[in-house]
Amino acid sequence: MDFKVENIEEIFSGEVIKKISNDEYLIKIQDKEHQLQILNINSNKMEFVLDNQFHSVRYIENQTAEMKIVLDGTSITINMHTHLDDIVYKNSGGAETGNAQLNLRSQIPGKVVSINVEEGSDVKQDDIICVLESMKMQVSIKSHKDGKIKSLKIKEGNSVNKNDVIAEIE
């Protein structure tokens, strides 16, 4: 199995070599063997000792080829695959980025206090589309491009979550 840790270039190969006892394993990472002892494990969390160093890991999110963990307090994303080199990362495509992107999304949660445009309005990049309030702060959500408001997905007084679509701009 190959592993790639976040935005670090190197790709690591890794596997379990041997189960030494009920909770002890010999694993191999990049041709080097390491002793690993599990102190406790469930599907959300593992505590383990690797080469005499204690670590605690929380498994936050798991997909086939990507895993989000918190290791000793640090958030880390790991990509994994049998042969990682072959994969075209989903993030490397051009979909949903920059000018081509239809949806304007909110990057924060908050309550809509005002909407500054209507459906059909023409907008320029950085024009204020709406204002959200969260934690006593007023935050303006600005258009990510020049275009026309195709549809508005919010109402005044409603709450939006992070990543909710604010408007479609074409």
Binding site: M1, F3, V5, E6, N7, I8, E10, F12, G14, E15, V16, I17, K18, K19, I20, S21, N22, Y25, I27, I29, H34, L36, I38, I41, S43, M46, F48, L50, Q53, H55, V57, R58, Y59, N62, M67, I69, V70, L71, D72, G73, T74, I76, I78, M80, H81, T82, Q107, I108, P109, G110, K111, V113, E133, S134, M135, K136, M137, Q138, V139, S159
Partner: protein
């Protein structure tokens, strides 16, 4: 004598006040909104009363409702904390009228402090230097624009009712000024229900240095030393420390004397804070009085050895100060980091939601004031301060190292926090050398240095991270393939 205190607040400051009251055998009354039903202040108070919906206007700002609770619960005093009604002189007056001891200055003094223009006049009269700016409240955006052009950009728009950095914008052009005028007005109205704006010259490379004021009902006044709060984002303090690296014993005394004059000029009683800008040339300019207990009071408690809430209660009870200025000695160095729920990389945008797990740092000379507990929720209705992490050391270096250690121990699951940023800041030479200014973050490119630090940290953890991923696959993907023998060779799947 105060026997039962209602705390008209929530979060860590409500807990802070309860702690001292409990130790002194004083009963406490908590109030809570829908959002706070399961909050710790509700659980730790002697009695707790529901006062309304989550939105502050419906609960923590609802004077009538809070008064009802005070009267029906037999409360004899109220501690307002900070924010909410703490600097609302109408509320202070309402308490005075109902014979409830408001723990803070008189309504009149609070009104004077809150009215930044009249306060400034009082200071000028008392020969306390202030920042150049508009002589009066601005009538409207047009008026503000005129003044800005008179004193020259950059200028600062400031709601006289704002506080803690909210309702403040720095603007460089007429257009920016007009946009900001609207936002500041809206924020001020949302926060305290009213708005009035002044314009002031914006001084560059300034430090924010403030003094703890303390004055009893008999006219005895002292200062409890300074705090430097220069590390800010969006005009809100992030990291505070005391003593300030640019205040020596002589300067402390010189400005301290001004602070006592300032307190007298507005007939201030109880604890408060006089805020100053220190220009790069070493001059101090009075900016405003915060007529309440500050967020950052713990670091002053650490170096003075005093319990400020106890002191507030004693003063409210009419007792004379138990010390003179010459009795007070500063002991050691203290630092506070404000642990906010925010996304550093998204211009500090709020981050809210459930916190399934949390580890609170502790240890010798580490203090953490927080409302967090495993399973709690960070609400979007209230401000982003989740915890105040403070450390003390006999030297500044000791305090700094303890803080770094404590920041490393602090784990908050579920929301973004300012902890990684503070780790980066505390490790820089600029911070170690005390090269502080209110534009510290931008001046020293802290956000990019944070990015670099995070990248390096992940790099260091590559090996155990890979091991963690291997074991996860082993356990939760390939369990069926495994044999049970003690020495059997397992094959990884894939």
């Amino acid at each position: 004598m105060i026997e039962k205190v209602l705390i008209a607040n929530r979060g860590e400051i409500a807990l802070r006040v309860i702690k001292t009251c409990k130790a002194l055998g004083i009963k406490t009354v908590a109030v809570f909104s829908d959002e706070d039903r399961n909050s710790l202040h509700v659980k730790n108070a002697t009695e707790s009363y529901y006062i309304g919906e989550a939105a502050p206007a419906k609960s923590y700002l609802n004077q009538e409702k809070i008064l009802d609770v005070m009267l029906s619960s037999g409360t004899d005093a109220v501690h307002p904390g900070y924010g909410f009604l703490s600097e609302n002189d109408d509320f202070a007056r309402l308490c005075e009228k109902n014979k409830i001891n408001f723990i803070g200055p008189s309504a009149d003094s609070m009104n004077l402090c809150g009215d930044k223009m009249r306060c400034k006049e009082a200071m000028l009269k008392a020969k306390v230097p202030t920042v150049p700016g508009s002589p009066d409240l601005t009538k409207d955006a047009d008026d503000a624009e005129k003044i800005a052009n008179d004193i020259g950009y950059p200028v600062m728009l400031k709601s006289v009712y704002g506080g803690g950095g909210r309702g403040i914008r720095i603007v460089n052009t007429d257009q920016e000024l007009r946009d900001a005028y609207e936002t500041v007005t809206a924020e001020s109205i949302a926060a305290v229900g009213k708005s009035a704006i002044i314009v002031e010259k914006f001084l560059e490379k300034t430090r924010h240095i403030e003094y703890q004021m303390c004055r009893d009902n008999h006219g005895n006044a002292v200062h409890l030393f300074e705090r430097e709060c220069s590390i800010q984002r969006r005009n809100q303090k992030l990291i505070e420390q005391t003593p300030s690296p640019v205040v020596d014993e002589a300067k402390r005394e010189e400005i301290g004397e001004l602070v006592v004059k300032a307190a007298e000029a507005v007939d201030y009683t109880n604890l408060g804070t006089a805020e100053f800008l220190r220009a790069d040339n070493g001059e101090f300019y009075f900016i405003e009085i915060n007529a309440r207990l500050q967020v950052e009071h713990p670091i002053s408690e650490m170096v003075s050895g005093l319990d400020f809430v106890k002191l507030q209660l004693d003063i409210a009870n009419g007792e004379p100060l138990p010390f003179k200025q010459s009795d007070l000695k500063m002991n050691g160095y203290a630092i506070e980091c404000r642990i906010n729920a925010e996304d550093t990389f998204l211009d500090f945008a709020p981050s809210t939601g459930p916190v399934p797990d949390v580890t609170i740092p502790s240890g010798p000379n580490v203090r953490c004031d927080t409302y967090l507990y495993p399973g709690c929720t960070v609400s979007p209705f209230y401000d982003s301060l989740m915890a105040k992490l403070c450390t003390w050391g006999q030297t500044f270096e000791e305090s700094r190292l303890r803080m770094l250690n404590a920041l490393n121990d602090f784990y908050i699951q579920g929301v973004d926090t300012s902890i990684p940023l503070y780790k980066t800041i505390l490790k820089t030479d600029e911070y170690k050398n005390g090269q502080l200014s209110t534009d510290f973050l931008k001046r020293y490119d802290m956000i990019n240095r944070l990015k670099e630090d995070i990248k390096n940290e992940i790099k260091e953890k590559q090996l155990p991270a890979t091991a963690a991923a291997i074991m996860y696959s082993e356990f939760f993907h390939s369990k069926v393939q495994s044999s049970n023998g003690t020495n059997s060779n397992w094959k990884t799947n894939g």
